[in-house]
């Protein structure tokens, strides 16, 4: 650990001694699980380009998102604050205008700031365009395909003064998983006739797979409501899926991973073609993962589980120097902002929660929040999650302490020894009680944005 910190400090020291600070490129690969990357242990060969990038980067093996949704997770990344400090975790959430963002700070330090996003929850309606001089989100639920084309158009356009901060984002691994040929059926069987194929091909199809059955035509939100009420069995129109069917659906997700990897490789080629790899820091992350049948769903918004919160996080320093190092310590996505600002020699905002990833750091669990009254803490030893607790209750400390750590009602834990679970629970409680929670949500969404969310299977704003 000391070795990579020393190397990173040396490299960054060079940049700070009279040299221009580096360009910054932040790449967000939406919904990408860490365990799909070869760099994170996968043997499936889905991500040759990301694995090559890992060889040129510092790889954070135990990086965790602060939320299970694009909206809240990116809000945390952009501000280094926890989502509930910024607003209620519902779809009326808007990034508070008063909250300084990474782009705003970099713009203040002379950076030309540009974002190329897939829209959806990163639409300007949610406030994410703050600090960006150019913000592209005109393709709804766009992919890296769109972002890379937009980015190259911008880079090849009129020159911009100052170093560049680029935010590049795509929903490639997000439902629906099916991607253009050959990726759509690269890891599943085109001849998979029947419900699995229908789930893969039809919009929102995988959101209609619950507890091993496919519910064609059902509203995903209503389906989850019926499940929560124990009424799922009463749904008339359902088809039981075999293990093989479920494997095909997982294979469709893997095809989407291969697709985003290919486009990530093309993105790197575009940057290299413009000679940007020698003076640019590239951060690659995912805002959250995805449950692929774990907990009975193909989704990410319903639980704070390991597949949803364990995400890739890699930092490539200029020229790929010091690359290939693996960091085992638990880190959080909200550590990105202070790290980037330290690299460029900028002062982080006062309420920054994260720590510099390239310095020796205080061991801290990664805390996460979900939209269904859920909290989670992840240490190096394991994860502890509370779900279905009234987080607004004045009796929250009592509720959390009274919760049975092994009970099925509203808590669960994984691979934690009892003592470690109690310790983690206390840390979670201390953290939560110390948070200055936002009192109210921001403004409401436009009718058009609500409609766009509904079309993608999101529930109505509360």
């Amino acid at each position: 650990v000391i070795g990579w910190i020393a190397t990173a400090a040396m490299l960054l020291g060079c940049a700070q001694e009279g040299e221009l600070p580096p360009n910054i490129v932040l790449v967000s690969l939406d919904t990408l699980r860490a365990d799909r990357l070869g760099a994170y242990g996968s043997a499936a060969g889905l991500t040759p380009n990301l694995d090559r990038f890992a060889g040129e980067s510092i790889v954070f093996e135990a990086a965790f998102a602060q939320a299970s949704e694009t909206l809240f997770s990116h809000a945390s990344v952009f501000t280094s604050r926890y989502p509930s400090e910024l607003g209620s975790l519902d779809y009326d959430f808007v990034l508070p205008p008063s909250e300084p963002t990474l782009a705003e700070v970099l713009a203040a330090y002379g950076y030309a700031t540009a974002a190329f996003t897939g829209g959806g929850h990163l639409h300007p309606d949610f406030g994410f365009n703050k600090g960006f001089q150019h913000y592209q989100s005109d393709v709804q639920w766009g992919l890296l395909y769109h972002a890379v084309h937009s980015m190259t158009d911008w880079l090849d356009g009129p020159p911009t003064p100052g170093q560049k901060f680029l935010f590049v984002h795509g929903y490639d691994a997000h439902p629906r998983y099916l991607k253009p040929p050959p990726f759509g059926f690269l890891h599943s069987d085109l001849a998979a006739f029947g419900p699995a194929r229908e789930a893969i091909i039809s919009p929102m199809g995988t959101l209609r797979v619950v507890d091993g059955a496919y519910f064609p035509g059902a509203e995903p939100a209503a389906l989850m409501g019926a499940r929560a009420a124990g009424l799922l069995g009463a749904e008339e129109n359902q088809t039981q899926l075999s293990d093989w069917d479920l494997e095909q659906i997982v294979g469709a997700y893997d095809g989407a991973v291969a697709y985003v990897d290919a486009w990530f490789g093309l993105l790197m080629a575009e940057l290299d073609q413009r000679q940007m790899l020698e003076d640019t820091v590239i951060v690659v992350m995912s805002d959250h993962g995805e449950e692929l049948g774990e907990n009975g769903v193909f989704n990410h918004r319903y639980s704070l589980s390991e597949p949803v919160l364990h995400v890739p996080l890699m930092i490539r320093l200029p020229g790929g120097e010091g690359g290939g190092r693996m960091v085992e310590e638990t880190v959080a996505l909200l550590d990105i902002l202070p790290t980037v600002l330290k690299i460029v020699g900028a002062e982080p905002p006062a309420l920054t929660r994260g720590q510099d990833l390239l310095k020796e750091r205080q061991a801290t669990p990664a805390f996460s929040e979900g939209p269904f009254q859920s909290l989670s803490a992840r240490s190096n030893q394991g994860r502890l999650t509370f779900e279905g607790i009234d987080l607004e209750s004045p009796h929250l400390p009592h509720l959390l302490r009274a919760a049975q750590l092994e009970g099925p009602a509203f808590t669960w834990s994984t691979e934690l020894e009892p003592e470690a679970a109690v310790d983690l629970r206390d840390k979670l409680l201390d953290w939560r009680m110390s948070l200055p929670l936002a009192q109210e949500s921001g403004s409401t969404l436009s009718p058009e944005q609500r409609q766009r969310l509904r079309e993608k299977g999101y529930w109505e704003p509360q």
């Binding site: 393709v139 769109h146 253009p180 990726f183 001849a191 006739f193 490789g265 290299d272 000679q275």
Partner: protein
């Protein structure tokens, strides 16, 4: 001396930039994965199982060599607009059937066409295989937008017979469709 060297190095022409991350390299692993028999090219047969939603092979195989080169593959991946692939835009919209099917039904036509053509490609050109459905029959089946329609079942029956002639095992799911709803 050092000063002179620095001066000299400053006068030199900058070396041309040779990118290490190449566009072709980014797609090479996928292309090689498709090349199942490792002969250095992707044939139409190798392309079949992953061709759902793809343009006709002939339009992808630009030099009409019968195979997909890495350059052609690169052109394909970079050229397919994923929006078009969603069935909402024109890129992959077939000329026939569009008006009749409408935007919502278009995907059904595409799906059916992809399925039937995939099944056909498996047996086309195999010696001794006879009685394949005509292109007109296949297109008529596609326009019904249902795998269970009499037209589609008629086509499936012919294809199944061809598969059996070729010694292939016909997909059970399709046999079920033929037998359960048979004429």
């Amino acid at each position: 001396m050092i000063f002179v060297l620095v001066l000299l190095s400053g006068c030199q022409e900058p070396l041309p930039h040779e990118p290490e991350w190449l566009h072709a390299d980014a797609l090479r692993p996928t292309w090689e994965r498709l090349d199942v028999n490792r002969d250095g090219k992707v044939s139409q047969r190798e392309w079949g199982p992953v061709s759902y939603g793809a343009p006709e092979f002939s339009s992808v195989d630009q030099d009409a060599s019968g195979d997909l080169s890495l350059a052609e593959f690169q052109e394909l991946v970079r050229g397919i607009d994923p929006d078009g692939f969603d069935g909402k835009r024109s890129k992959l919209v077939p000329e026939s059937g569009q008006e009749r099917a409408g935007a919502d039904q278009l995907e059904e036509v595409l799906r059916l066409r992809s399925t039937l053509h995939f099944l056909l490609r498996e047996v086309e050109g195999i010696e001794g295989v006879e009685g394949l459905p005509t292109p007109e029959e296949v297109e008529a089946a596609c326009q019904t937008m249902s795998l269970g329609s009499p037209e589609s079942r008629g086509v499936l029956k012919k294809i199944r017979a061809a598969w059996l002639q070729a010694g292939f095992t016909f997909p059970e799911g399709l046999t079920w469709i033929i037998e359960q709803r048979g004429p």
